[in-house]
């Protein structure tokens, strides 16, 4: 509202103070987010290395894709987009995000429905459910790594006692089960978050709708399908998108639980490896940039699709 005519001292003072109040936050966010992001993207078009960042020179798209001629008529594609390991990590990330978010939604929904019931000790159960969320990711990874230990792990012991497996499984070390191990830990850790968000959605559904349905004699399952589910769908969708964005940038769990295996390397892990372990700073920046683009695309689509209420105009 900066109508020039009839803008009084009060409004001018307020608008001026608005920018003053915003300035510290904006400056900090600029230095920690906008500027570094710009630099990352710039590095991805250069030959920067960890020690020679300032002398980086522009090399165009060579980090992304480049045709190298061997001179004898032969040649090959190089660069991120031609790297099998990169595509493997893209695939891993997508698998991880899809499977983990799916299971987290299902389990989260179940837990939320349980917590939505009235029963003795509900407060305690809710507190218990929150515990995995409160545990730092690294700690969860370590705890589960120990439980999944191939020789002394309690998980193998349990599963063998139950007859589910015949012999001990090297959960984190074996390429066949590494991804499953990562998924188990992530689903265990993040389901509470999902459950809470869905529970909040459930609690926003007015009670009288259920009462009306009960008076009409609608069976519980139909009430859930026809009333509850559609009404909480918006809350569930928001939760799913938030989680999916989070899952696409997964790093900690994979890095700690299953280091250095092709079976679970995700895009973030791939990027960091190149940045700091393989001294391929520019190349790693290219991977970071692609990951950013993917997430930005999803975020923008989401914001457009839901037409989020940013100004708080909706009541």
């Amino acid at each position: 509202m900066s109508a020039p005519e009839g803008t009084s001292r009060l409004s001018r003072q307020r608008i001026r103070s608005a920018w003053l109040f915003l300035a510290p936050m904006l400056i900090v966010l600029f230095i920690v987010a906008a500027w570094p992001l710009g630099r990352t993207i710039w590095f991805s078009f250069t030959d920067a290395s960890l020690d020679l960042m300032s002398e980086a020179e522009f090399i165009g798209f060579r980090n992304y894709l480049e045709w190298v001629d061997f001179g004898d008529g032969e040649g090959a594609w190089y660069g991120l987009l031609a790297d099998q390991r990169w595509w493997r990590s893209v695939w891993n990330t997508v698998v991880f995000a899809t499977v983990s978010v799916t299971f987290e939604t299902i389990f989260g929904l179940i837990i939320a429905l349980v917590l939505h019931q009235q029963f003795a000790g509900r407060g305690l159960v809710r507190a218990a459910v929150l515990i995995p969320w409160a545990i730092p990711t690294i700690v969860s990874a370590k705890m589960w790594a120990w439980m999944m230990h191939d020789q002394f792990g309690i998980l193998n012991d349990m599963f063998m006692a139950l007859g589910l497996i015949a012999e001990p499984v090297a959960w984190t070390a074996s390429p066949d089960t590494a991804m499953i191990a990562v998924l188990i830990v992530d689903i265990w850790k993040t389901t509470p978050f999902m459950a809470l968000l869905i529970l909040a959605g459930l609690q926003m559904v007015p009670e009288d709708i259920y009462e009306a349905a009960r008076l009409d004699g609608v069976p519980p399952w139909r009430v859930f399908r026809k009333l509850t589910l559609p009404l909480i769908m918006p809350a569930v969708l928001v939760a799913v998108v938030f989680r999916a964005l989070d899952a696409l940038r997964v790093f900690d769990i994979v890095y700690v639980l299953t280091p250095n295996t092709d079976a679970t390397r995700t895009m973030s892990v791939y990027a960091r490896e190149n940045l700091f372990d393989f001294d391929q700073f520019a190349y790693g920046s290219a991977a970071s940039t692609v990951l950013f683009l993917v997430i930005a695309l999803i975020t923008i689509t989401f914001i457009m699709a839901t037409r989020m209420d940013l100004e708080g105009k909706r009541q």
């Binding site: 009839g6 803008t7 009084s8 003072q13």
Partner: protein, 338 residues
């Protein structure tokens, strides 16, 4: 000697103009009431005077000085909000002293003023309480007290009684009337859409309609000489009967207006025969709704109890001297002096 003057004041929100060319001059010590239907711009006008909204064009003066660009706190005004807007985390004392503190008054002076206001409003024993621990009426007094401590030239009230129950509303109304007597130099501007409040409190009433000033005048002027069809219909309860058609034409008007209290009802003889459709008994009065033959629905006010049954044939006789005639544009047709 006007304290508050508005010259051609307009207010736009974006592209919507909600106040058009408002001209007003309010005298020192006057009690002014703004009335009008919901959304007509009463609150907006009050907030323009307070400085909480910008004036789009036109000029506001207080005691002769231009105020358009003066910060609200520097205008010498105080405001009582509809929701009281007490600071929930401060005690009553702190609520009342906060503004004085901002004005950098000495501690002793602040204390003196707060206690004086508290005494005037009989809230001394509440000074240490938090707003949450007060009843609605007490909160209202604290809100008024907070305004009094500032010793304002102009006092603004935006529907201050609308959150109170009916009995308390009457009491508080009387107190506000008493307050204005005690502060003879303070101009009061009071927004309401309650007619009784307007008629009883006001020295002068400003009737607003769709962002225009319809009429300014004493309560009795508005009642007796409404300057438009709108004012005629708005002031007075129950509403004035408006009759059109042949009857009005016969009087040389587009609309013929007659208040329910200015019609005599008889079961034997009168000017307009008709049939009772409904009676509303209030105890002190009875409102009799009559379908008058060839004229239409007419509401008649009968003093005291009236047990006339619906369906009864009755005769109505208007008090011609109290009748109003309006032209097609809704302007009154002035009666030739007798």
């Amino acid at each position: 000697m006007a304290t508050v003057e508005l010259h051609k004041v307009c207010k736009r929100f974006g592209s919507v103009e909600v106040l058009h060319d408002i001209d007003l001059a309010l005298d020192r010590g006057e009690f002014i009431v703004f009335v009008g239907p919901s959304g007509c711009g009463k609150s907006t006008l009050l907030r323009l005077i307070a400085g909480l909204e910008d004036i789009t064009s036109g000029e506001l003066r207080i005691d002769g000085q231009p105020m358009n660009d003066v910060l609200p706190a520097k205008r010498g005004i105080a405001m009582v909000f509809q929701s009281y807007a007490l600071y929930p985390h401060m005690s009553v004392y702190e609520n009342m002293s906060f503004g004085l503190e901002q004005a950098k008054l000495s501690k002793a002076e602040i204390d003196r003023r707060v206690r004086a206001a508290a005494t005037m409003l009989q809230i001394e024993e509440l000074l240490d309480r938090k707003p949450k621990q007060l009843s609605g009426g007490q909160r209202q007094r604290v809100a008024i007290g907070r305004a009094i401590t500032r010793d304002p030239r102009v006092f603004l009230f935006d529907e201050p009684l609308s959150n109170l129950d009916a009995a308390l509303r009457v009491d508080t109304r009387l107190e506000i009337a008493a307050l204005s007597k005690r502060l003879p130099d303070t101009t009061m501007i009071y927004v309401t859409h309650d007619q009784v409040e307007a008629m009883t409190l006001a020295d002068r009433i400003v009737v607003l309609n769709a962002g225009h000033v319809e009429q300014v005048g004493t309560p009795m002027e508005l009642y007796e000489r409404p300057a438009s069809l709108f004012v005629a219909g708005f002031i007075g309860s129950p509403r004035m009967n408006f009759l059109t058609g042949q009857l009005a034409a016969a009087e040389g008007a587009a609309t013929y207006g007659i208040r329910p209290e200015h019609i005599a009802l008889s079961e034997t003889a009168g000017d307009w025969p008709g049939q009772v459709t409904l009676t509303e008994k209030l105890g002190s009065d009875t409102f009799v709704h009559v379908a008058a033959d060839g004229i239409g629905a007419i509401n008649v006010r009968v003093e005291g109890r009236c047990d006339i049954a619906p369906g009864t044939r009755v005769f109505l006789t208007p008090d011609a001297a109290a009748a109003h005639r309006f032209d097609a544009a809704g302007r009154p047709i002035v009666r030739a002096a007798p």
